[in-house]
């Protein structure tokens, strides 16, 4: 008699997504779904969908959902969590949504220490609207609004969200993962599990940035997109844990006085 060792998690609706072939949004959806199942949270989880390619996430997860306005998912998540602290609340956001228009909302949501989980999908481009430059677009990378490639002298350097958020003093769990290979996906799932566990135990705000592919707007076949990510994004977006609730203060100190350690004025 056969046992099924790998199947669609219960927290993922049994439907075909609209995502392009090879888009790793799908992998991230599944990892989140698996974590929700494994922690037994499905029936008390409320997700917040962004405006972006994952706008229809509310159709893909088998949990209650809000569809937020562009960039405001962290504010909506705050509203839900403050109204119903007993619920498990997560937002799922792209890099245009979170790091461009939604910068104030994510910084303040993290700084207030809202006990929610943010799944931040960094694919270095605006997918849904057809490939415009994102705050995370790599130097020299071509996008429809930087046809000659991102010029750091005009548009600045890509924003590193995990680094930025981790420097806030309010306790939080902040990490960066990738899903360009199955083994990276396994590590990503581990971080997602940690993030949701911190929320389940009402410990702190958590954010997991996940590097993802956009074969369509990168103009690279899926199988090559993973290599492109590894070669171009990984060096600039190092993977790992940036902040833990009990851990040290990650903010830099004034130059010359070395880095501010956890010993600093509490």
């Amino acid at each position: 008699m056969a046992e099924t060792v790998f199947r669609r998690p219960e927290a993922l609706a049994d439907v075909t997504t609209h995502y392009c072939p090879g888009c790793t949004h799908g992998v991230i959806h599944r990892l989140v779904g698996e974590v929700i199942d494994e922690l037994g949270l499905r029936e008390r989880t409320v997700g917040i969908a962004p405006v972006g390619c994952s706008v229809l996430a509310y159709n893909y997860f088998a949990t209650d959902f809000h569809e937020a306005s562009h960039g405001r998912a962290p504010a909506v998540a705050t509203g839900v969590k403050r109204a119903r602290p007993d619920l498990i609340v997560f937002s799922y956001q792209g890099d245009g949504d979170l790091a461009s228009i939604g910068m104030a909302e994510i910084i303040h949501c993290a700084n207030r220490g809202e006990k929610v989980t943010v799944v931040f999908v960094n694919n270095a481009i605006y997918g849904m609207t057809g490939g415009q430059m994102a705050p995370t677009t790599m130097p020299g990378q071509v996008a429809t609004t930087c046809p000659l490639g991102r010029d750091v002298n005009l548009a600045g350097w890509p924003i590193r969200v995990a680094e930025l958020v981790s420097t806030l003093k309010t306790p939080a769990y902040v990490a960066r993962a990738s899903v360009h290979s199955p083994l990276h996906a396994v590590a990503a799932k581990e971080m997602l599990r940690t993030a949701f566990r911190y929320q389940k135990e009402n410990v702190c705000f958590s954010l997991v940035e996940i590097l993802s592919t956009c074969p369509t707007n990168w103009g690279i076949p899926p199988a090559e997109s993973t290599a492109w990510l590894e070669k171009n994004m990984l060096p600039y977006y190092p993977l790992g844990t940036f902040k833990t609730p009990g851990g040290e203060d990650r903010a830099p100190g004034p130059l010359g006085r070395g880095r501010r350690g956890s010993g600093h004025a509490e």
């Binding site: 499905r42 029936e43 008390r44 989880t45 409320v46 917040i48 706008v55 229809l56 509310y58 997860f61 088998a62 949990t63 209650d64 959902f65 809000h66 569809e67 937020a68 306005s69 405001r72 504010a75 909506v76 998540a77 705050t78 509203g79 839900v80 969590k81 403050r82 109204a83 119903r84 619920l87 104030a104 909302e105 303040h108 207030r112």
Partner: protein, 362 residues
């Protein structure tokens, strides 16, 4: 409860609490700072939650999350802050979320000034945000009425699953008057269960989704028609206005809302002595607008005077009500300048004596 002397802003906050609201998300702005300040000390006392949002944009989206969770929630701001909420307000209406928004209007445009004004009427009643949607708009003229309307606002919001806007001005926010909170108040509407709220799909219930996106135009058109049917029901059932002296006969009908209507009532009384006969219709709901009542009351008058603390916004609705059957005159002050009883009286005299020109379009 016994009468208490309260600032309008505080009465609004207390009324929300009396109505069972336990959540406030807002950002400071004069002349309504006393509302968030009051909520910040009062809510913790009743087990509620106050959050000072990072901005009005954030506050209005926190409202979205809390309302979508099925809880009673409100926010308040003043003109510039309300402009920043327009996208979220369109989302709230599109997703049919019950909530209350208070706008204590100040003078504009731009940063303008902080004194009383009524220049956000169009934004409130026609829709400052994108798309075809309506807010139910309530306009109090006293602190007591503000307290009463705020409580009704929560019931109306829940009944219609629609945001309700309470439109006051700096005077309402700042002045103190006696207020009484009726104990054992009953909701002004039956309150349907919020089984649509996103609260976790326990016991295998189908998932609830709070959403305003409908990619299929046929579905979105249908959604729009559903919303319009709801607004039609408001027009049918929720019109509120108060008439003053319309039982007697009069030459001039005044139409005004909010605190400026009090100025007009004083003017009308003072004129009585002179034998100049005037009456007033005061819209309490600005959407739905009391077209019918204004039309009826105007029949007895030779002419109609609209008084606003703006350059003339509600006057268009009065013209739509009368469709040329009576001449419509307008008197307005702007920038925080208040119309005085004396000024209004002079306007009425002029109209009664046929010394004043009416409003025209184009």
């Amino acid at each position: 409860m016994a009468k208490k002397l309260m600032k309008g802003s505080e009465a609004i906050g207390e009324a929300a609490i009396q109505a069972g609201c336990r959540l406030f998300f807002g950002y400071p702005i004069t002349p309504q700072n006393e509302i968030p300040e009051y909520m910040s000390h009062r809510l913790p006392q009743v087990g509620g939650t106050f959050v000072q949002a990072e901005s009005e944009v954030a506050a209005s989206n926190m409202l979205y999350g809390a309302a979508g969770s099925g809880e009673r929630v409100f926010t308040s701001s003043s003109s510039p802050g309300i402009s920043l909420m327009q996208e979220a307000i369109s989302y709230l209406a599109g997703s049919e979320l019950p909530c209350v928004v208070v706008n204590i209007m100040r003078a504009g445009p731009g940063l303008g000034g902080i004194l009383p004004s009524q220049s956000d009427y169009f934004q409130a009643t026609k829709g400052g945000g994108h798309g075809d949607y309506r807010l139910l708009v309530l306009a109090p003229w006293s602190v007591q009425e503000a307290a009463d309307l705020v409580q009704d606002a929560f019931d109306l919001a829940d009944y219609y699953r629609n945001p309700v806007l309470v439109l006051g001005d700096g005077l309402i926010g700042q002045m103190m008057e006696p207020v009484e909170f009726r104990t054992g108040r009953v909701p002004c509407k039956p309150l349907p269960p919020k089984d649509w709220a996103a609260t976790g799909c326990k016991g295998g219930r189908a998932t609830n989704i709070i959403n305003s996106l409908f990619l299929d135009p046929q579905v979105l058109e249908h959604h729009n028609q559903k919303l319009q049917a709801k607004y039609a029901a408001m027009v049918r059932d929720e019109v509120r206005c108060v008439e003053y002296g319309t039982e007697a006969d009069y030459d001039v009908l005044v139409v005004a809302y909010g605190t400026v209507a009090r100025v007009c009532s004083t003017a009308i009384e003072d004129l009585g002595a002179e034998g100049v006969k005037a009456a007033m219709v005061r819209p309490v709901t600005l959407f739905p607008f009391p077209y019918e009542q204004v039309r009826r009351a105007a029949q007895k008058a030779k002419a109609v005077l609209v008084v606003e603390l703006s350059t003339g916004q509600m006057v268009e609705d009065v013209q739509l009500a009368l469709l040329g059957t009576r001449p419509v005159h307008f008197f307005g002050r702007q920038g925080g300048m208040l119309a005085t009883p004396e000024e209004v009286a002079e306007q009425i005299r002029a109209i009664a004596a046929g010394r004043s020109g009416e409003v025209a379009h184009g």
